[in-house]
């Protein structure tokens, strides 16, 4: 056994870290937070220039061919500074679906632009009445000659107000079992019939609800077979489930440790000498270690050609719930001062602990709720009947 990351991984990590340090400023971090829009053209442009949009894609697809552990290290460095990469993730999920299932014309038109960071694609899966049960999507697509007419609405289409396309899951056939009547499209957003309405979230992030009224798209924008949308979508989601929050948790821990070294109690003793503070920090540090290990294992399995069917969900489940536990616990540890808001000049550690509490709440909801992750672990990992 060897738990050390190989030299080529550490070298790549260093390269990413230098890039992130150079591009991420305190001002940018504050602007992202204040606007709620986790996107910056200069940052994503720099990522594209370096070939990091498709860092993990094979070279014959125009990717950089980095191995899964290098990708993990890259994401760790991006997460460490909360870099604005959300649009890259969604764009590349759609690009992957087009690569696997799109027609040749769509591939030629979209993929080069996606890899160069010239287009933003957002995700239109969830609906007001279909979240975890995403196959229950009701947004209708009705064929009309060589076109489709789309009516419905989508929730949490983050970045839709700055994006070019939405990767849309629609109901093309209401008369068959729900998984068998779905079709996916790449829909240009800048056209009549599409309305984007802002939705603000607890973490400060702006997302959107998008409405589609008699939107017409040519059949050439279809991705995959008619009624074959379920497979197209789940294929693109595979990677999303491998996300972990170990590094963000680690950053929270570092903030809390720095606070404990700086702050003093009524007797002027440093808080880090308080046994209660030490227990809380040590518990968080232990869960950081476990989170990083679970992520490392899932990435290692990918590299070795194994499919981490239950191990990927374990990584997401554990690290997101650890994030929530730690954020709650460390806020309580800091006490009243933890209430001072992110970027308020009076807040300890810039208010990052307060921010972590709000940020953490979403982590067990998006990209598959904890309940969905547990369902997958129970059925595929433990073989329990459904």
């Amino acid at each position: 056994m060897d738990f050390r990351l190989e030299e080529h991984i550490e070298a790549f990590r260093e390269e990413v870290r230098e890039f992130v340090d150079e591009r991420m400023s305190e001002e940018l971090e504050e602007r992202i937070y204040r606007t709620g829009v986790s996107h910056d053209d200069d940052f994503t442009g720099g990522m594209a220039e370096r070939g990091w949009y498709a860092a993990g894609w094979p070279e014959e697809w125009g990717g950089a061919g980095h191995d899964p552990l290098e990708i993990m290290a890259m994401r760790e460095e991006l997460h460490r500074r909360d870099a604005p990469t959300y649009s890259i993730g969604t764009t590349m999920m759609a690009a992957k679906a087009i690569m696997h299932s799109g027609n040749e014309e769509l591939k030629r038109e979209i993929l080069p632009k996606a890899l160069r960071g010239e287009v933003i694609i957002v995700l239109g899966f969830s609906e007001p009445e279909a979240g975890s049960d995403v196959a229950n999507a009701q947004t209708r697509a009705v064929r009309d000659g060589d076109e489709w007419v789309i009516n419905g609405s989508k929730m949490f289409t983050t970045n839709a107000h700055i994006a070019d396309y939405v990767f849309l899951l629609t109901r093309s056939n209401p008369d068959v079992p729900k998984h068998k009547g779905l079709t996916t499209f790449l829909v240009p957003l800048k056209q009549p019939g599409i309305e984007v309405q802002a939705v603000f979230t607890l973490s400060g992030e702006r997302t959107n609800i998008t409405y589609y009224t008699d939107v017409r798209v040519e059949d050439r924008w279809r991705i995959g077979e008619v009624d074959g949308g379920w497979r197209v979508m789940t294929g693109s989601l595979q990677d999303e489930h491998s996300g972990g929050f170990g590094v963000r948790l680690g950053r929270l821990l570092t903030e809390a440790e720095d606070w404990a070294r700086e702050a003093t109690d009524d007797d002027d003793e440093p808080r880090i000498d308080d046994p209660d503070v030490r227990e809380r920090l040590a518990r968080c540090a232990t869960e950081v270690e476990v989170s990083l290990l679970l992520h490392r294992r899932a990435a290692w399995m990918f590299r070795e050609g194994m499919v981490p069917e239950a191990e990927g969900p374990m990584n997401k489940l554990f690290s997101s719930e650890a994030m929530e536990r730690a954020a709650q616990d460390l806020c309580e540890m800091v006490g009243p001062d933890a209430l001072r808001s992110y970027f308020d000049p009076t807040a300890p550690r810039g208010g990052r602990i307060e921010y972590a509490l709000r940020f953490s709440i979403g982590t067990t909801i998006y990209a598959g709720t904890s309940e969905i992750q547990r369902n997958i672990i129970a059925s595929r990992g433990l073989g329990l009947p459904r």
Partner: protein, 342 residues
């Protein structure tokens, strides 16, 4: 990163897994209660070299890696096998590190199987060391008393204590004339290093306890029906088992990492050992509770095996300390002792 076992490690797992499956059956485990010691099995594992593996060739052993020892401990945990392997390995490693004449003599006797030597995890108080692991069946215990590390012959100096986990623990009276193995700061340092060994090995054992208990629970909820369906199909049951599977996978990775770090990342080894121990304990504690609970009334019956695991998960860990104490040890290793980190 490489999370595969070597061929030799796989062989070790298979060998000890098969041995315990055959020689530490639930019947044998029960037969050894309440003392918690199976002499025939102990002779067998000693013969297989569990003590020799724990110390370097220079000290007369075979020099197996800390990972190898952790893998053996995990198999012991899976069977809740009634043999004090970890205690004897920790004591042997402690004697090997001391390396002086009296320690070497004690180690030689332990390697030869003439004496079973164990170690008290906590310093003695008022001439007495409480709940010393394996002391009910060992010949000698290494005990820190004041600033002296002593080799205490146990014959006539122990009182075996019946306990929750059916462990062969005893309260030990420290005689005035015990042999001194070390004194001064090096004595306390030697015990501290022994505790590190105990923590990473017991972490691996607790992973085995928890993992096997989880298997028993899963098998039961797949079979047992209520309202015409297997109870494992209920999310309230399935989800908590999924949580335990996740925690135990994390605990296993952390225990292996702690073992690996002993030689490969010594600066973090002590911190990781304490982390691994406390996380494995909490994971095994919860897994044994859940698996027992999902057995319904049967889980409460002595006849079902799950209770063997429930009791040992708690006892094997708490004989050293409860979680908050261990988290404070993690903090001591991570930040330095109180007063050093501010």
């Amino acid at each position: 990163v490489d999370l595969r076992f070597t061929d030799e490690q796989q062989q070790l797992i298979d060998t000890f897994g098969a041995l315990y499956a055959k020689q530490a059956t639930p019947e044998r485990v029960r037969a050894a209660e309440p003392l918690g010691f199976d002499k025939a099995l102990w002779d067998q594992v000693h013969e297989m070299g569990v003590i020799a593996m724990a110390v370097d060739e220079a000290a007369g052993g075979w020099g197996a890696s800390p990972e190898d020892l952790a893998l053996i401990a995990e198999q012991q945990g899976r069977a809740v096998a009634p043999v004090p392997v970890i205690e004897a390995q920790v004591a042997a490693r402690l004697l090997a590190r001391l390396g002086d004449e009296s320690s070497s003599a004690a180690l030689a006797a332990a390697l030869a199987g003439e004496r079973l030597v164990t170690v008290a995890l906590h310093p003695g108080r008022d001439g007495r060391a409480g709940l010393v692991p394996a002391a009910a069946v060992a010949d000698d215990a290494i005990v820190l008393d004041g600033d002296q590390l002593l080799l205490v012959p146990l014959e006539g100096a122990r009182l075996a204590v019946e306990n929750l986990g059916s462990m062969p623990v005893a309260d030990v009276t420290i005689p005035a004339d015990a042999e001194v193995l070390a004194s001064g700061p090096s004595a306390a340092g030697a015990l501290d290093a022994a505790v590190d060994d105990f923590l990473f090995l017991t972490a691996a054992a607790l992973v085995g306890v928890g993992a096997r208990a989880l298997e028993l629970g899963i098998a039961y909820v797949k079979e047992r029906k209520a309202w015409g369906v297997p109870i494992g199909s209920f999310q309230s049951v399935a989800h908590r088992l999924a949580d335990s599977a996740t925690a135990l996978d994390g605990a296993r990775l952390l225990a292996y990492e702690a073992a690996w770090a002993v030689d490969e990342e010594p600066a973090r080894a002590a911190e990781l050992a304490a982390m691994a121990f406390v996380f494995a304990y909490e994971s095994a504690r919860d897994a044994t509770y859940r698996s027992l609970h999902y057995h319904g009334g049967y889980g409460f019956m002595m006849e079902y095996d799950i209770q063997l695991y429930f009791r040992r998960a708690r006892a094997w860990a708490n004989v050293y300390g409860e979680p908050r104490k261990v988290y404070r040890r993690v903090a001591d290793k991570r930040y330095g002792a109180t007063g050093e980190a501010g």
